[in-house]
C-alpha cells in the first residue's frame, strides 16, 4: 500500500495500461515532455516515447477525430482535452462520429477522452465546466466521473479496455486534494456500477465527482446534529446509469436528493429524478430534490463562484427540507 493522490492514480492507470497493452497510446496538447497542463501524464513520454505519447497541435476536433480513426484500426487511443471546457470544439466528432459508428456500421470505437472538469479552482467561465449532460443525451457514449483515487484508477482502466467511446471526466479540484492508500494489486472498477459511499436509511443522496465529498460532509453533520441517516450514492459511471442500485436505495429510504456540480436545468439530475419519479413513484414520501450549480456560466470571483456552486451547507439544508416534508 502506498498513498496516491487522485491525479497520481490516473497517471498510474495510464502507465499500467500502456505497459499491459501496446495498442494503448495517448494524444493531446502538451502531454509529452511537459506531462500535461496538470502533470497527469508526467513521466509517460519518457517511459513510452513520442510514438505513444503524442503532442498534438491545438486542434480538439482533430484530436478526437483522429482518435476515432486510430480506434477503428486496432489501437486504443486515450485523448486528453487540456480542459473539459474545450471539448465543445470537438463536439461534433464525439456526438456524430464516435457515438454512432457502432450502431450505424457495426464498427466498435474503443477510445477514451480524458477531460479535466469542474470548478472551485477560480477558473472562471471557461475553465470550470461540467459538460457531462450534453453527452448523456447522445446515445452511444459512455461517461465516467470518479470521485476517489481508487475509482479514478480502476475506472480509467475499465474505460481504456472498453470497446466503446468513453468520456472520462476527472475533477480538477480533486487532483491533489484526494489522497488514498491504494493496494499494490491491480484495481479494475467496472463501468456502470455505482458505489454506496455512506450507508443510510432515511434519505438517498445521489451524486458524483467532487460533490461526493460535499454530500458526505452534509450527511455526517445531519447524522450528528439531527440523527438523520443519509445513504450517499456515488454514481461513478453516468452512462450507463446504475438505476438498479438507485432504485433499491429509493425503495428503502423513500426520499431523494440529487446533487451535481453542473448547472441544474437539463443536468443529469433531471433524468435521474424523472426515472425515479416514474419507476419508484409509489415509494416516494417526498418530492425528489435537486441541488446543482446555478443556471449561469461559472462566475470568476471567488465570492461569486462560491454562491454559484453547491456545497455541504446547501446540501444539508436541502436534505433537512426533504426530511421535514
Amino acid at each position: 500500500m502506498a498513498t496516491s493522490t487522485y491525479l497520481e492514480a490516473i497517471n498510474q492507470a495510464l502507465f499500467e495500461e500502456m505497459e499491459r497493452d501496446e495498442s494503448v497510446f495517448l494524444l493531446g496538447e502538451d502531454i509529452g515532455i511537459y506531462g500535461g497542463a496538470f502533470k497527469v501524464t508526467k513521466g509517460l513520454y519518457k517511459a513510452f516515447g513520442g510514438d505513444r505519447v503524442i503532442d498534438t497541435p491545438i486542434s480538439e476536433s482533430a484530436i478526437i477525430g483522429s482518435a476515432i480513426g486510430a480506434a477503428i484500426t486496432g489501437l486504443r487511443p486515450v485523448a486528453e482535452m487540456q480542459f473539459a471546457d474545450f471539448i465543445t470544439v470537438g463536439f461534433n466528432q464525439l456526438v456524430a462520429n464516435a457515438a454512432t459508428l457502432y450502431y450505424r456500421h457495426n464498427i466498435p470505437v474503443p477510445m477514451v477522452v480524458r477531460a479535466p472538469s469542474g470548478g472551485g479552482i477560480r477558473g472562471g467561465p471557461f475553465h470550470s465546466r461540467n459538460p457531462e449532460a450534453w453527452f448523456f443525451h447522445q446515445p452511444g457514449l459512455k461517461i465516467v466521473a470518479p470521485a476517489t483515487a481508487r475509482d479514478a484508477k480502476g475506472l480509467l482502466k475499465s474505460s481504456i479496455r472498453d470497446n466503446n467511446p468513453v468520456i472520462y471526466f476527472e475533477h480538477k479540484y480533486l487532483y491533489r486534494r484526494v489522497k488514498e492508500e491504494l493496494p499494490k494489486e491491480e484495481i479494475v472498477v467496472p463501468l456502470g456500477k455505482a458505489n454506496i459511499s455512506r450507508e443510510g436509511d432515511d434519505v438517498t443522496v445521489i451524486t458524483y465527482g467532487a460533490m461526493v465529498f460535499e454530500c458526505l460532509d452534509a450527511a455526517k453533520k445531519l447524522f450528528e446534529e439531527h440523527d438523520i441517516s443519509a445513504q450517499v450514492i456515488d454514481l461513478r459511471t453516468l452512462q450507463p446509469l446504475d438505476m438498479e442500485l438507485i432504485l433499491q436505495s429509493v425503495q428503502k429510504t423513500s426520499r431523494v436528493v440529487i446533487v451535481h456540480e453542473a448547472s441544474l436545468s437539463g443536468g443529469i439530475g433531471a433524468e435521474i429524478a424523472a426515472r425515479i419519479s416514474e419507476k419508484a413513484f409509489e415509494y416516494l414520501d417526498a418530492p425528489v430534490k435537486r441541488i446543482a450549480s446555478l443556471d449561469t456560466p461559472t462566475p470568476f470571483s471567488p465570492i461569486l463562484e462560491n454562491e454559484f456552486m453547491p456545497n455541504a451547507e446547501k446540501i444539508y439544508n436541502a436534505i433537512l427540507e426533504i426530511m421535514k416534508f
Binding site: A62, G65, T73, G74, R104, I107, P139
Partner: protein, 334 residues
C-alpha cells in the same frame, strides 16, 4: 488527354474506363429507380466527377483505406464494392451492410477497407488522418485516402486534419473534388484562393491542381502521392477540377448553374473523353467497348433484381445495440 499518360499500362486505362462506365451506368439506374419511387431518401450522383473518384480509388492497394463521401460511388466501385451492396443500401433493405440503419451512400465495408462518411462535410478528414496515424504507428505501409468537395474544404476539420497529418508526416492523401459548385453555391462565394491546392503550402505539404475530368492524369497524380505517402514522406493535397454535370441531388434541376460553364464541361465529360482516347489510341475497339457495356448492364440488371427482392429490415432491429461488447470483432484489418 494528358500528355504524360504514357507510363500508365493499358490494362489500367481499360480498367479506369470500365469503372467510370460502371459508375455512370449504376448511377443512371439508381436515378431511374428514384424516379420510380423505389429509393429511400435522397440521391447524389457523381456525373462529371467519376474520373476523379474512380481513378483516385484505383490508385490504392487493397490494404489501403478509402474514405469516400456523398458523390463517390465510383470510388466504392473502384475499391471493389459490388453493385448489389450499393443498391441494397439505396433501397434500405435489411440485408444491406448497415442492416437498414444507414442511408444511400453512407456505409462501410470492413472487407474492403472502406469507411463510410457521416453527413457532416469534412468530419471524416480527422478520422482518416487518425487511420493514417494508426497505420504509421503500426508500421503497416498503407495509406488513407479521403475525398472532400471544394465546398466542404471550407470547414474547420479540413484545416485541423490536414495540419495534424502534415505535422506527423502521415500516409494521408486528400482529394479535393472541385466540381465548381457546392449545392447552389458557385466557387466565388465559397473561397477566394486561385487554387485550393494553394492551401497545401500553409501546411508544408505538396499540393497539386489537376484536371479532374482526366482519369489517367488523376490516376497518375494520386498514385504518385499515395506511393510518396507510403514511403513515409507525408501527406499530399490534390485538387481535381471538374464539374457537377447534374443537380446537387436528384430533385435539383440546377437552374442556377452558369450556362457557359456547363457547355464547356459537357465537352469534357470524363466518360466520353476516356472512351475517345482509348479508341483513338487503339487500346480498345468499338466491339470491346460494347462488350464491356453489355457486361455491366447485365450485372446491373442482376443486382437490381436481387436488391428489389431482398427483404426489408425487421422492425426490432431499430433497438440494435449502441454499445459494442467486449467480445465484438474489433478493428478493421483484424
Amino acid at each position: 488527354m494528358s500528355e504524360s499518360s504514357g507510363n500508365i499500362e493499358d490494362p489500367v486505362k481499360i480498367e479506369l474506363f470500365r469503372l467510370v462506365l460502371k459508375t455512370r451506368m449504376t448511377e443512371d439506374r439508381i436515378i431511374a429507380l428514384y424516379r420510380q419511387g423505389k429509393i429511400v431518401g435522397g440521391v447524389y450522383t457523381g456525373r462529371g466527377v467519376e474520373a476523379t473518384t474512380v481513378a483516385s480509388a484505383l490508385a490504392l492497394e487493397k490494404k489501403d483505406y478509402l474514405f469516400p463521401i456523398h458523390r463517390d460511388l465510383g470510388a466504392h466501385l473502384a475499391k471493389g464494392q459490388t453493385i448489389l451492396n450499393i443498391l441494397l443500401q439505396y433501397l434500405g433493405k435489411g440485408n444491406n451492410l448497415t442492416k437498414g440503419k444507414e442511408s444511400g451512400i453512407h456505409f462501410s465495408d470492413r472487407s474492403l477497407n472502406i469507411i463510410g462518411n457521416i453527413s457532416h462535410l469534412g468530419a471524416m478528414i480527422p478520422v482518416a488522418v487518425g487511420v493514417a496515424l494508426s497505420l504509421k504507428l503500426q508500421k503497416q505501409n498503407s495509406v488513407a485516402l479521403n475525398f472532400i468537395g471544394e465546398g466542404g474544404s471550407n470547414i474547420g476539420d479540413f484545416h485541423e486534419g490536414l495540419n495534424f497529418a502534415a505535422v506527423q508526416q502521415l500516409p494521408f492523401v486528400l482529394i479535393i473534388e472541385n466540381n465548381q459548385y457546392a449545392y447552389s453555391t458557385p466557387v466565388e462565394k465559397e473561397y477566394r484562393a486561385r487554387y485550393l491546392s494553394d492551401r497545401a503550402k500553409g501546411y508544408g505539404i505538396p499540393g497539386y491542381h489537376i484536371d479532374g475530368t482526366d482519369a489517367i492524369k488523376v490516376y497518375q497524380t494520386v498514385k504518385e502521392a499515395v506511393e510518396r505517402a507510403r514511403s513515409g514522406k507525408g501527406p499530399a493535397l490534390i485538387e481535381c477540377k471538374s464539374f457537377r454535370m447534374v443537380g446537387h441531388s436528384a430533385h435539383d434541376d440546377a437552374f442556377y448553374v452558369d450556362k457557359e460553364l456547363r457547355k464547356k464541361y459537357e465537352k469534357k465529360d470524363p466518360l466520353i473523353k476516356l472512351e475517345k482516347y482509348l479508341l483513338k489510341n487503339n487500346i480498345l475497339d468499338h466491339d470491346s467497348v460494347d462488350r464491356i457495356r453489355q457486361e455491366i448492364a447485365e450485372k446491373i440488371e442482376d443486382a437490381t433484381e436481387k436488391a428489389i427482392e431482398s427483404p426489408l429490415p425487421d422492425p426490432e432491429w431499430a433497438y440494435g445495440a449502441i454499445y459494442a461488447s467486449n467480445s465484438d470483432r474489433m478493428a478493421y484489418g483484424d
